[in-house]
């Protein structure tokens, strides 16, 4: 019972704090969202409002529904109840809306998911050319711009299999950016990387955050959360258990489950 109270208390507080801002400043609005895998209730009563330019880190033990939550935002997973509005477009089974949201929302995956049969350049220009109908030359210029931004322009004509994990993940970030998204979702972007490569990916993400991109990151990199996030959300058993600004969240966790999690992950 106490957990529920805390959860709702926090939600009310956050909601009130945004009362004065206008609708158009809201990037993502999730209300009363529920999701089941078969009969398993993975996400329970999720309420979340993400403001434009906000950088949110979602943490929690494995199986808590963090990835599922952000995958619902671009409809890689379907939700069964409640409402998700992304950039003013509500996600329903309407394919047009889904395609519209997907072209506005970039996503970076744990396992990069680059297309191995295409060169880096082709990976980056494919969606702009085929979805946005950008002329090839223009798409290639944009691709080079973003490759330079993630500091690997020299790899443009190699295949993904020839790059290191860190480089591949930076390419994946650049691939998303080529679509000029307004929101970026990161699904454990550094979990599959060697320790030596985590930093180069995090640096890219920090750079992106500094430019004001709206970001939702599922990650275990608590250092990143402290440095970049406006808000940290902690999930357990498919529910948002606690959310707060990073300093408060790490120094003064309220929920028992959060305290346990933090003590385990920061303890060594």
């Amino acid at each position: 019972m106490t957990e529920m109270n805390i959860e709702h208390g926090i939600d009310r507080k956050i909601d009130r704090s945004h009362m004065k801002v206008s609708e158009s400043d809201i990037a993502i609005q999730i209300s009363g969202m529920n999701k089941w895998y078969g009969t398993f209730h993975v996400l329970r009563d999720i309420d979340l409002t993400v403001m434009r330019g906000e950088r949110i880190v979602i943490a929690g033990p494995s199986g808590s529904g963090k990835s599922t939550l952000i995958r619902c935002i671009n409809r890689l997973e379907e939700h069964q109840a409640g409402q998700i509005v992304v950039d003013g477009t509500e996600l329903t089974s309407d394919l047009k809306n889904i395609d519209k949201v997907r072209s506005e929302v970039g996503m970076v995956f744990q396992h990069f998911n680059l297309f191995p049969h295409l060169t880096i350049m082709e990976n980056l220009t494919l969606a702009p050319i085929w979805v946005r109908k950008v002329p090839k030359r223009e798409a290639e210029e944009t691709a080079m711009y973003f490759l330079e931004k993630v500091k690997i322009p020299e790899q443009a004509h190699k295949y993904p299999g020839q790059l290191s994990g860190g480089q591949q993940q930076r390419v994946a970030i650049a691939r998303s950016l080529c679509m000029k998204p307004r929101i970026m979702l990161f699904d454990e972007p550094t979990s599959a990387l060697d320790p030596e490569m985590i930093k180069e990916v995090l640096d890219t993400m920090i750079q992106l955050a500094e430019e004001g991109m709206t970001m939702l990151c599922v990650t275990h990199e608590m250092g990143f959360a402290q440095a970049v996030a406006n808000r940290v959300i902690f999930m357990d058993q498919g529910q948002i258990v606690e959310q707060n600004e990073p300093k408060e969240f790490f120094n003064n966790p309220k929920n028992e489950r959060t305290k346990l999690f933090l003590s385990q992950i920061l303890g060594h």
């Binding site: 409809r75 072209s103 970039g106 995956f109 396992h111 998911n113 969606a127 085929w130 295949y159 998303s176």
Partner: protein
């Protein structure tokens, strides 16, 4: 408890070659031929089997006879030079009858058309098979051009039956072939990207060269595809499913009701036709290649559609695909061929004269497509889920994701299986003998063996036919390996 003396390396070690017995032929033999007692025994046994095979076949092969006009003459020559009772190969039968193996009863003054049709096939395939490799394309086209010219010349000067020779101009045929090849080379050199248009019209052109008759029949048949595309465009306002139905339905209606009339009318306005050749004249490798190539070309796209259908979320599409695939795979090809030759006429509107070769091609296509669908399904299943998700997350719709991301990878994985299916299908073309067509293996060989000259010949025709099939199938297999190498970009 720390007993170790602290140590800091000051110099890194350089690479060194492995010890002598770990390199070269010695290592290879030890690892591959004599790795253990069982391996050694098997090596010796295998070598003995090879030696025995060669030793027993060699006397027969060594006593080969190439020049004779009958089997008895062959035997006399062997007896004369190798002694009474010696067995020898009589390849003279091939020399005597090879044009029948190649062309069946195709009119000898029109051999050039069949040769040209097969040669042009390679030109049509070049933009598809060797798209990115101009050097290979040049080489293939060069070799094919020379072979076609050589064969046409031989056919024109040596093979024409005096009975067919009456109103035939050797030079007109050779000139036509040269001209067609020259035009294609010009296109290949000056506008290589336009050669794909030749690929598009080749099905009609090949059909016309082989069967002859009015030029308008293949033209209106090909027009069906253009009409299908127009219908697809016209149905755009009504959404995707309507487009799909229009694209499939309109051409079929055109082929059944419109095409025949249109061909007649056009033929009356601008009559243009060449000598027609009936399907009963087809035989030998012309028949096998016609059925094989048509089956391969049609079954791949159909198989892809079936594989995607089987993965579909739409219940009806999925159910129909599964039923079709399982039914076809559960039934022997011969059953389908009998259906094609006997039963199909009962189901078609009365008076429809549906060519037997065409019917066989349809059945062979359906048969191969079901297998290809399953092979491709394996390729689709082998792709990590992340590929679908990444395509979705980038906003690609279903067809774009399939075409740009999923199928290129799934087909690449499926190449060995697809080529196996093609090879199997090409060999299965010999089964058409059961519906009265003259396949090279049994149809033609039976005719040769029934003739008074070659009665009693046994091994040689079969070895010859097997060798030709081997050349075709081995080429396909090598091409598949080339393709796999070329498409290997994952650097694993």
């Amino acid at each position: 408890m720390n007993n170790q003396v602290s140590y800091v390396r000051t110099q890194m070690l350089a690479q060194q070659p492995p010890p002598g017995r770990e390199m070269g032929a010695v290592k290879w033999m030890r690892e591959n031929l004599f790795a253990g007692p069982i391996n050694s025994a098997l090596t010796i046994l295998g070598a003995a089997a090879v030696v025995w095979l060669i030793a027993s076949a060699w006397p027969w092969l060594a006593a080969s006879v190439w020049n004779a006009s009958t089997l008895s003459e062959c035997r006399e020559i062997i007896a004369a030079s190798w002694g009474e009772g010696h067995h020898g190969a009589c390849w003279a039968v091939i020399k005597d009858r090879w044009q029948q193996y190649a062309f069946g009863f195709y009119p000898s003054d029109l051999y050039w058309r069949a040769i040209l049709a097969l040669g042009l096939l390679f030109f049509a395939l070049t933009p598809v098979l060797f798209a990115a490799n101009r050097r290979v394309a040049n080489r293939v086209m060069g070799v094919v051009s020379l072979v076609v010219l050589a064969f046409v010349t031989v056919a024109e000067f040596r093979l024409i039956d005096p009975a067919d020779a009456a109103a035939h101009s050797i030079w007109a045929a050779i000139l036509t072939v040269t001209l067609v090849l020259a035009v294609l080379w010009a296109v290949h050199i000056f506008a290589p990207s336009k050669l794909i248009w030749f690929t598009a019209i080749y099905p009609g052109l090949g059909f016309w060269l082989l069967w002859g008759g009015s030029v308008w029949l293949p033209v209106v048949a090909l027009a069906g595809f253009v009409i299908g595309w127009l219908a697809f465009r016209a149905a755009q306002p009504f959404g995707g499913p309507a487009q799909l139905v229009a694209m499939l339905l309109v051409p079929v209606l055109w082929w059944i009701y419109g095409a025949g009339v249109a061909a007649d009318v056009l033929n009356r306005i601008i009559p243009f036709s060449i000598e027609a050749v009936g399907s009963d004249k087809f035989g030998g490798f012309v028949l096998a290649i016609t059925i094989g190539v048509a089956g391969i070309a049609l079954s791949l796209p159909f198989g892809i559609v079936l594989a995607l259908g089987r993965q579909s979320n739409m219940f009806l599409v999925k159910a129909l695909s599964v039923c079709f695939i399982e039914f076809i795979r559960g039934v022997p090809l011969i059953t389908l061929l009998f259906t094609a030759s006997l039963l199909l006429n009962y189901f078609l509107p009365p008076g429809t004269n549906f060519d037997i070769i065409l019917r066989v091609i349809i059945m062979v296509t359906l048969f191969a497509a079901a297998y290809i669908a399953e092979v491709i399904r394996g390729g689709l299943a082998a792709l990590p889920r992340g590929q679908y998700e990444a395509a979705d997350a980038l906003g690609l719709d279903y067809w774009k994701a399939q075409r740009l991301i999923i199928l290129p990878q799934a087909l690449k994985i499926s190449i060995p299986g697809i080529v196996s299916t093609f090879i199997g299908m090409f060999k299965d073309t010999t089964l058409v003998v059961f519906v009265g067509l003259l396949d090279p293996l049994k149809g033609i060989t039976d005719i040769v063996r029934a003739s008074t000259d070659w009665k009693g010949i046994y091994w040689e025709p079969y070895i010859f036919v097997a060798a030709i099939f081997f050349i075709f199938n081995f080429s396909m297999s090598r091409y598949a390996m080339y393709l796999e190498r070329k498409l290997k970009t994952d650097h694993r």
